[in-house]
């Protein structure tokens, strides 16, 4: 059971990838890219989800995927034009598919009504395409009419002959491989949602295929098991590809079927036997009326020992134009997929490796220092060797960090769906443009970006963009645009979310801030300061609270989560033109930009993102405030002065604040506090190490790091220290911190 659960887990992981693939493909189609490779990619994605779901008996998922697949199949064979309305239905279907996958993963119920509605829409789209010309539709109709041959449609399998091509085309060409593929599925194959017609079509994409169906195993009507599998197929395939490519098609079904692939020597040019395979074409609209299998059995083919009754469907003619293109696409696509194989690795192992490499870097630095101390000449062999070692260690560190780095694509890709749904709810028309999806950043950063991004996109659509009629009146296109972009800038990742809406209404922002008591009514603020008011806790601009973005949490939460990631967020707004939110984040959470300070002989690191400015306190600025508490005057305001050494219990209160340096920090809720330390050593990038793993939580300490000299330094938890400092009058600092 555990093994199965593990496989299931892998299936869901792969599903996520397929769903991403699916959405990417649909969006490309929506953007006008009707290339058969894109269409095939979408089809494959749906098909893979269906196949896997079948293996795990996820019936709802299989049924929906099947409906979706049918529609996609019609597009693939060119019977259904991927017009915008259809693609929109398909995008919604992709959303539903994702919901179903998630529901199955969590073993939770899903919105069956919604799924049914979209499925019905898809079916309706398919139905529109159905009554078209007969000849070219042969294959499509087989798919449409008998999607689950083993189930309800089993009776419709009658020996029939559909001849659509001139067999002269099948004459072997030099340089081609010929295979005889014998394929006999077992009932399990159908039970898992696979479909022979799809396999046959895949084969046909490889080259010229002559498919013969062996219906000899079909029992009498009374003995038929509706879920049984009675047919076998023999395919004569002429292809440029090798046997492996042929077998690859059957990858998912091999163990539920009997499969033989044997190379066949090129036959003599004249093979009169082939003539025997030509049967009367039967118009497809007559198919349902065909009675039980009592047609005249065709004469057995003298050359072929195998089937007695045979259905011959040369698939090549069915897709005259699509085949070469699709075959090309297949040849391009597959080797590319093979070129960069991937492995799944436990994240813990990668982290361990990163730890070790971090240690290697420190050791290398220490070694260099020792060599220097030993007074070895700069150009000595040792020094040269050391230089090379340094270069190697750096390269190793970069490579190891790159393992954890992933393109932001995975989180960006969730946004189009969100934009669609929000736009629909608020009745606006939105186009989400994403740029720089391949920008790489640490996996943990990506995971924690999802919530703030979701919130900001909702905001941009709900609050940023005007209503369509307002936009038209302002001379803008009715469809609003939200741009989401990512790029690397000086060792950080910069993510921008911009809209072409009305921009921030500064008067209203100010009025609200005053009304909510966030700023005094007579405050003078610059435009920039006014814009930044929206980041204050308790600020919410929506006049009516919508269920999209007005749920009590606002931009302050976004700001907090960005800061928690060691990032910063800013806003730029031009009235009438729109607003741009810019987030700058570190590329990894394993490393932190810190200010290294000395407090009572101890070395501490303060996260740089928390520090607003550095002050050298003057005697006139520091004021006592009740008990032992002190405040420092900064530009007409008073900010609590927190002595870090005292809060940490390293020493008593530093009597003379002038002996130290005050770091002005911003803490949770936007409040400010000044942390008094003895001296600043400098600014440094440090690797974050957990204290919890081998000890436990220490109040006032966020984590630890290892400095260049190999010693451990503690990273200050600014919020807790500042909060404890403001309670400095209490008799027991330890309790104040711990509580």
């Amino acid at each position: 059971m555990d093994a199965l659960a593990e496989i299931k887990q892998t299936f869901f992981q792969e599903c996520e990838e397929q769903l991403v693939e699916l959405e990417t493909g649909l969006l490309a189609i929506e953007a006008g890219d009707h290339d058969s490779e894109v269409v095939n990619a979408v089809f494959r994605a749906v098909h893979s989800v269906k196949g896997g779901a079948g293996a795990f008996n996820l019936t709802d998922l299989v049924h929906f995927a099947h409906t979706f697949e049918n529609a996609m199949d019609l597009v693939r064979v060119g019977r259904l034009a991927p017009a915008p309305p259809l693609v929109r239905v398909m995008l919604r279907a992709a959303d539903i598919l994702a919901d179903l996958v998630r529901a199955a993963r969590a073993d939770a119920p899903h919105d069956a009504a919604r799924a049914a509605a979209v499925a019905a829409e898809l079916t309706a789209c398919c139905a529109e395409a159905a009554p078209k010309g007969a000849k070219a539709t042969a294959v499509g109709s087989v798919a449409a009419a008998a999607p689950e041959p083993a189930a309800d449609d089993a009776f419709e399998f009658v020996p029939l002959a559909v001849d659509l091509s001139d067999f002269g085309d099948l004459a072997p060409m030099p340089g081609l491989n010929r295979f005889r593929i014998t394929f006999r599925p077992r009932p399990e194959l159908y039970a898992k949602g696979n479909d022979t017609v799809i396999l046959m079509r895949e084969l046909a994409l490889l080259g010229d295929a002559l498919v013969t169906c062996d219906t000899g195993g079909l029992p009498g009507l009374a003995d038929i098991d509706p879920e049984g599998a009675y047919f076998g197929w023999t395919v004569m395939l002429e292809t440029e590809r090798d046997e492996a490519a042929v077998r690859e098609i059957f990858d998912f079904v091999e163990w539920d079927s009997t499969l033989e692939v044997e190379p066949v020597a090129a036959p003599a040019p004249a093979e009169p036997d082939e003539e025997e395979f030509v049967f009367e074409p039967i118009p497809l609209d007559e198919l349902p009326d065909l009675g039980p299998p009592d047609l005249d059995p065709p004469a057995p083919a003298p050359g072929e020992a195998e089937p007695s009754q045979a259905v011959v469907v040369p698939l090549r003619a069915a897709e005259p134009a699509a085949v070469p293109a699709a075959a090309d696409a297949a040849t391009e696509h597959r080797p590319a997929a093979q070129a960069s194989p991937t492995i799944r690795v436990d994240l813990d192992r990668v982290d361990r490796l990163i730890d070790l490499v971090g240690e290697l870097v420190i050791n290398q630095a220490m070694l260099a220092e020792r060599v220097n101390e030993a007074g070895l000449a700069r150009m000595s062999q040792v020094a040269v060797g050391l230089d090379e070692l340094e270069q190697l260690t750096r390269e190793i560190q970069d490579s190891v960090m790159a393992i954890r780095a992933q393109p932001v694509k995975s989180v960006f890709q969730r946004m189009p769906r969100l934009a669609r749904e929000v736009a629909m709810q608020v009745g606006k028309s939105v186009r989400l443009v994403t740029e720089g999806e391949n920008t790489e950043v640490d996996k943990t950063v990506i995971e924690r970006l999802s919530d703030p991004l979701t919130h900001m996109i909702r905001n941009a659509i709900d609050h940023g963009l005007e209503r369509p009629e307002v936009r038209l009146a302002a001379g803008k296109p009715e469809e609003g645009q939200v741009r989401l972009s990512a790029l690397h800038r000086s060792g950080r990742i910069v993510i921008e979310i911009s809209d072409d809406g009305a921009g921030i209404n500064r008067e209203r922002v100010r009025a609200i801030a005053v009304e909510k008591g966030l700023i005094p009514p007579d405050t003078k603020l610059t435009d920039e300061e006014t814009d930044n008011l929206i980041f204050l806790p308790g600020f919410s601009t929506a006049a009516t609270i919508s269920d999209i973005s007005g749920r009590g949490v606002g931009m302050d939460v976004v700001k907090r989560s960005i800061q928690a990631l060691g990032g910063r967020i800013s806003i730029a707004s031009v009235p009438g033109k729109g607003s741009t939110f810019t987030m700058s984040l570190p590329l990894t959470l394993a490393v932190l930009d810190g200010m290294v300070v000395t407090v009572a002989g101890h070395t501490l690191v303060i996260p740089l993102t928390a520090i607003v400015e550095i002050l050298l306190p003057k005697a006139t600025e520091v004021h006592g405030f009740g008990g032992n508490a002190r405040v420092i005057g900064v530009r007409n305001g008073f900010i609590p002065l927190v002595d870090v050494g005292e809060v940490m219990g390293f020493r008593g209160s530093l009597e003379d604040a002038r002996a130290g340096v005050a770091l002005l920090v911003e803490i949770e809720g936007g409040a400010r506090s000044a942390l008094l330390v003895d001296a600043i050593q400098g600014q440094r990038q440090v690797v974050i190490k957990s204290l919890e793993s081998n000890y436990g939580h220490v109040p006032g300490i966020a984590a630890a790091t290892i400095l260049g000299d190999g010693r451990v330094a503690l990273i200050l938890d600014v919020d807790t220290v500042a909060a404890a400092g403001s309670r400095v009058g209490s008799p027991d600092l330890t309790l104040a911190l711990a509580g």
Partner: protein, 155 residues
């Protein structure tokens, strides 16, 4: 070497013995990861007196417990000869500061005698039994409660 896994009464186990002041103690060798020399530790604020601080053990942050202070003796004055026994305690790894390692003992379970009544409360909560080896008395201790976190959970 694999006797340590046996559980029957006559099975022998291996113990690492070490000195704290003049007294000798030992712990099961299976819980010892490595033994290393003393390096100055970074003190942790608001930690009990027996927690010396943390050191860098090949990239991991390792807390150092002064076993003498933990057992109620006067704190060890770390010298160059002091030794850190890196031991596994539950899911955590902890460094134990002791004066010196004296050796490895192979004993059978029946040689472990119950703790005498005279020991202090503090020592008794760690000592699970005593051994008589070559006329020396060696106390077998358990490491389950050396870290304050474990102590808090127990309380």
């Amino acid at each position: 070497m694999n006797e340590a896994h046996k559980t029957d009464g006559a099975a022998s186990r291996e113990l690492i013995s070490f000195l704290i002041g003049t007294q000798e103690f030992c712990v099961d060798i299976m819980s010892v990861r490595e033994i290393r020399g003393w390096t100055p530790a970074t003190p942790l604020p608001h930690s009990p007196g027996y927690v010396r601080g943390v050191i860098n053990l090949r990239g991991a942050v390792l807390s150092i417990v002064d076993l003498a202070a933990r057992l109620g003796f006067p704190p060890t004055e770390p010298s160059a000869r002091a030794v850190i026994i890196v031991a596994q305690v539950g899911h955590q790894v902890v460094g134990l500061l002791v004066d010196a390692v004296t050796g490895i003992l192979t004993v059978t379970s029946d040689t472990v005698q119950p703790t005498p009544d005279v020991a202090s409360d503090m020592a008794r909560s760690f000592v699970t039994g005593v051994l008589a080896v070559d006329g020396r008395m060696i106390s077998l201790i358990t490491l389950d409660h050396v870290l304050p976190a474990a102590e808090r959970q127990a309380a």
